[in-house]
Symmetry: C2
Subunit: 199 residues, 2 copies
């Protein structure tokens, strides 16, 4: 209840469903939008309509694009025999921002989880096994989150390719660039110590 | 740069301009919207278009409504000789949620500020003086924020009505309901002590 007219109340309710916004910040956002009607409210509504019409999940890798095959899967340059496995599209975007990886991706759409009853067939794992064969993949790079579910999923995936010629690797764990030891958790420090390298 | 297609990038840029959202939370919100296209993205775009068309600033009090006079200014029941002065529409909504005040409002649209060069004519102060006469107001209740600028504005407004029959009051300051003394700042405790009442 915000005692705003019905249209505005409805908009506040919908905005409050976005991750990171609650009822109070949704009210603040809506008031801001109304003040900046021409600059922000109308363009935002148009942009949402455009995305609602154009956004599509890539049938091959699960990335979000504007056609049935995303730009990365369409590009022959990215077919270098490497597939980077990520949990979510947000992780794919994070990898792309670093501009280091030149291969293709595979978005699982989550992690295996006994608690939430998520099994291999609920994720895009069978499709990954197919792709490794059809795209002649030589290396599967696991870029899963360093959580328990992420690591369980990584172990499961590594097992799938045991005995085949496919190399399975995972991102290195250690001290983040710019990280201060004093602010790091024990797990990270012990992982970094175990994986120490000669300089 | 998020390596998302152009439509999606554009939507992320616009979302990141909302108060309380930055680039990272905007990306998260947009991915959530795309996943919930039918349930959230389309309805949100429609709701924004509806508000962009219907929302209007009340010419009398500055509240946001759907016609030139807001519902509160249209209602004869609310013409009880009391006007509550607030800084912003968000404050008006907060007052209305408490369902205690039965009079009308006046939204200043900010506070006087020497630093930001905001003078009385930049706010809705002349209109307030007009309304006090035309609506036969007996009491002006100042519900301004307890900041320096808010209190400066309150003093200025009190001066405007000095010598007239209009009573100027302000919200009581003290310990909030449910507040624990240990977590309160010194200023609030000393204000509450000065304004102590016999029980």
């Amino acid at each position: 209840m915000s005692d705003a007219p019905r249209d505005i109340d409805h908009l506040i309710e919908l905005m409050a469903k976005l991750p990171g916004l609650g009822p109070r910040s949704a009210r603040r956002a809506v008031l801001h939008l109304i003040k900046k009607r021409g600059l922000l409210l109308n363009p935002l509504a148009d942009a949402m309509h455009a995305v609602a019409v154009s956004a599509r999940e890539c049938l091959n890798c699960g990335n979000i694009g504007t056609s049935d095959l995303c730009e990365i899967c369409q590009s022959e340059k990215r077919a270098n025999g490497e597939i980077c496995v990520v949990e979510d599209v947000a992780d794919l975007w994070a990898m792309e921002r670093s501009q280091v990886f030149k291969g293709r991706y595979h978005v699982l759409g989550g992690t295996l989880s006994a608690l939430d009853a998520v099994g291999p067939e609920d994720l895009r794992i069978p499709k990954l096994v197919d792709r490794v064969i059809s795209e002649e993949v030589k290396e599967v790079i696991l870029a899963l989150n360093a959580t328990i579910d992420g690591q369980t999923t990584a172990h499961y995936l590594a097992e799938q390719f045991e005995g085949s010629d496919v190399q399975v690797t995972s991102l290195a764990q250690g001290v983040p660039i710019g990280g201060e030891l004093d602010y790091l958790d024990d797990g990270t420090i012990s992982a970094a110590l175990k994986a120490r390298k000669s300089v």
